[in-house]
Amino acid sequence: MSEDLAHDAHLRAALRHAPDHALVPPSSVSQAILGAARQAHRPARATPAPPPPRMRAAHAPMWRTWLRQLTSPRWAGGWAAALVAALGLGLWLDLEVQPVVEHPSAVAPAPGPARANAGALPETPVPRAVEPRDPVAASVDERAPQESASALRKSAPVPTAKAERQAMARNETARTVTQQRADSTRSETQGPRNPDAPVTPAPAPVGGTDSTSAPMPPPATAQLPAAPPAPADSGVGAQRAAAAQPELQARASTPSVDELRLSAASRGGGAPQPAASPLLTLLQRVRADSAAGSVRWTWVSPGGAAPVPFDDAGQAWLQRLMQAARGRWSDVAERGETAEATEVRWWRDGWPHATLRIEADGLRWFDANGRIRYAPLDASTLQRVRGY
């Protein structure tokens, strides 16, 4: 080594006395290094243990990492919430469009906002007239249809693709059932039959919007008195079932609906059009207002002279009358005879609401908007309901 490359004593002395000669690394750095050295020997001394999940995750495949993250508590909570929400939504949609199989002794569901969409209800095996519309929507009050329609629009769920598919599937199923029933009815009518047997009306169509089906009455809806528009519960169901029992018994002893309807049509000079029971609509309206407690109902009872509050006794009478005339209502144009008739009037907050005339052969209902409905009844029934 040449002389000039030997250690320069002066430069070395200057290096030793440089201001940074006493520098030492920060203690935190030293602790980190020594800690890492101690840590490096722990796995070597102890039995090799599997690394913690987070360390293994760094070497795991991407999909496994994602799966582990998705199953972490934070994501699991989100998934659970989404699942519950989806389940609730599905149940709600199912409840909205679930076809109701009506049984004679079964409980009719309470009218709900989606009943307007429930046009594809299967027909009840009991031959009777059906009420085509939502009782609430068929209210006689002039303002009521608008309010009900708006309420229906508001409460009706936004149609989704799934809901539309479900509705289409139900309509298809209902169409098939209707066709089968029509075929069976056709075979019955074409075959030998007893001329004394009552005329059985054709089953109501289950697909209200199906133009290919035979012209039949609109789909059946609830005819039993129901509570104000609210979710049905078991208590109300039991009450309805109990109320339906005497009706079935009375129905067996009363003339056929079609016989009465045909006779009324012959007297009225026109084909009767099945209509919803105005009594049911009135009763539901009264109960709804009573629950709200904001509307005052008054009436002139049969044989009464002045308006009095439409109390529970009056409602019970109205319910009996409704059961007696159930399924017999139809739209008519005649105003009927006024002689030997008993009139019953209702007021809602002082405004005339409707008039019921108990005539010699039936009930005639006058809405405030001019609509007239008629329900033929036999004399014994009329005599029974005439007394309040």
Binding site: D4, R12, P19, P25
Partner: protein, 229 residues
């Protein structure tokens, strides 16, 4: 390696290879001895190598260097170089990486400078002749500060060669092997570094020519006497 075997007993005066072997065998205390022995010099080397602009990265380079030692404990084999040379070489490579990452120009091929070295600032006129001995502490402290300024002006390759050779006592052969360069290259780098530093320190200036400007300043400064720059 048997994990249940007791680590070999180590002592503070064991050489680096023995301590490193003990550390690889599972004795963390051996690493602490190694760390205590070399941490100050290595930290100083890293700080000087990175310069004033790289002070912020000095801790990172220093820590990474020691962590590499920890992770390479079982792979470490003394291949002609001492543990200290290997340690400083690791730090050098890591410093180069940091400098490149920070966007600074790193000239490793600086074995033949085409242009003459012109040091920044005024050369120090008080640099003693090689045969002169100065035992004044203040003088050397000022000389040390001046030398750090001069080091800032060296390319990192020459700076590395000078620091490893003069500060850490690594021979030219070992320097060449550690930096994976030829002996002549190492020799050239060191020569250029020394020449530039001596120029910067005023060692090549004519002392007689400087004396008139500093006539009142004796060449050999007495202790505690403040020199006049």
């Amino acid at each position: 390696m048997n994990p249940h075997a007791l680590p070999p007993a180590v002592h503070a005066d064991d050489d680096d290879l023995a301590l490193m072997s003990a550390f690889a065998a599972g004795d963390a205390q051996a690493f602490e001895w190694l760390y205590r022995r070399h941490h100050a010099a290595l930290y100083r080397f890293v700080r000087r190598l990175l310069g004033r602009d790289g002070t912020a990265q000095a801790d990172e380079v220093f820590q990474d260097t020691w962590l590499r030692v920890v992770h390479a404990k079982e792979r470490y084999v003394a291949q002609g170089a001492s543990f200290r040379t290997w340690l400083f070489t690791l730090a050098h490579h890591r410093a180069i990486d940091v400098l490149r990452r920070s966007g600074r120009e790193v000239v490793l091929v600086a074995d033949d400078d085409a242009e003459p070295f012109v040091p920044d600032g005024t050369p120090w006129s008080l640099w003693p002749r090689p045969e002169e001995a100065i035992d004044d502490l203040v003088f050397w402290r000022r000389a040390g500060a001046k030398l750090l300024d001069c080091l800032e002006q060296l390319p990192i390759a020459q700076k590395t060669a000078f620091l490893l050779h003069h500060e850490d006592g690594i021979s030219l052969d070992e320097l060449a092997r550690a930096l994976d360069i030829g002996f002549e290259t190492a020799k050239s780098r060191l020569r250029y570094a020394l020449a530039k530093l001596r120029t910067c320190m005023g060692a090549y200036l004519d002392a007689a020519a400087l004396r008139p400007r500093h006539a009142n300043v004796p060449l050999r400064l007495a202790r505690d006497e403040e020199p006049t720059p």
